[in-house]
C-alpha cells in the first residue's frame, strides 16, 4: 500500500496550523491528506530564513520532485513545493 508522504517540519507561532495536517515527530511530519511538501521563507539581507517546512495545506499541486524557489512579494518571500519524501529540506534557489 502507498506510504504517506514525509516532509521536513518547522513552523512559527503564526503558522501552527501546519502541525494539524500530519503527525509530527521532531523535525519530520507524516502527511495525512497530501503528497506535497512545502517550504516558506522570508528573505532577510538576501538570505532565505525558514518560516515553514511542512506538509502542504493550500498549494494542492506539486509537479516537481525537488523544491524549486518561487519568489513572492518582490522577492521578500520565497516558497517551494515538491513531491518526494523530505524534499522540502533543501530549497533550490538562485538569489
Amino acid at each position: 500500500f502507498p506510504q504517506n508522504r514525509m516532509c521536513a517540519f518547522q513552523v512559527t507561532s503564526q503558522t501552527k496550523r501546519f502541525a494539524t495536517v500530519g503527525n509530527v515527530s521532531g523535525s519530520v511530519q507524516l502527511c495525512e491528506n497530501t503528497t506535497c511538501c512545502v517550504g516558506y521563507y522570508r528573505v532577510i539581507d538576501g538570505q532565505p530564513k525558514v518560516d515553514v517546512l511542512a506538509c502542504d495545506i493550500v498549494e494542492k499541486s506539486c509537479p516537481d520532485a525537488t523544491c524549486k524557489a518561487q519568489k513572492r512579494f518582490n522577492g521578500r518571500q520565497i516558497k517551494c513545493v515538491c513531491n518526494t519524501d523530505l524534499c522540502n529540506s533543501n530549497i533550490t534557489w538562485t538569489p
Partner: protein, 111 residues
C-alpha cells in the same frame, strides 16, 4: 414570502442559457503566496423572465423594465453565495496562513 416568479425547470427549454455557475480558474500569484491558482467560479447567463433565484427587488425591477422602462439597469447574473479560501500570505512578521472570505462563488442569482 417571495413575489410570484416562475422558476426555470427541467421543462424550460431555455435552461441551458439561464443564469448559473461556471468554473473559472484564476492566478493568485499577485495577491497571495499560495496557492498559485484557484477555481473561483463565475456566474453567467440570462436574467430574462423567468428569473432564476431572483428576490423581490429583482422581480419588481424586471417587471418595471418589461413595462417599457428600458433605461433602467436590468437584473444581472451575479454570485449570491460564496465560500472562503484558505491561503498562505506574507505579513510584517513573515509567513502567515489565513482564511480569505468571499473568494469562491458558490451560487448565482439575478440581482
Amino acid at each position: 414570502r417571495g413575489l410570484r416568479a416562475t422558476r426555470a425547470g427541467p421543462n424550460n427549454p431555455e435552461g441551458g442559457n439561464i443564469c448559473g455557475l461556471r468554473s473559472l480558474t484564476v492566478s493568485l500569484t499577485k495577491i497571495v503566496t499560495g496557492p498559485n491558482t484557484a477555481n473561483i467560479n463565475n456566474c453567467h447567463g440570462s436574467c430574462a423572465f423567468p428569473l432564476p433565484s431572483a428576490n423581490n427587488h429583482a422581480v419588481l425591477l424586471n417587471s418595471h423594465i418589461g413595462s417599457g422602462n428600458v433605461d433602467e439597469r436590468a437584473p444581472c447574473c451575479v454570485p449570491v453565495a460564496y465560500e472562503d479560501l484558505e491561503v498562505v500570505d506574507f505579513a510584517d512578521y513573515g509567513t502567515s496562513i489565513t482564511i480569505k472570505p468571499n473568494m469562491v462563488a458558490k451560487e448565482c442569482g439575478c440581482r
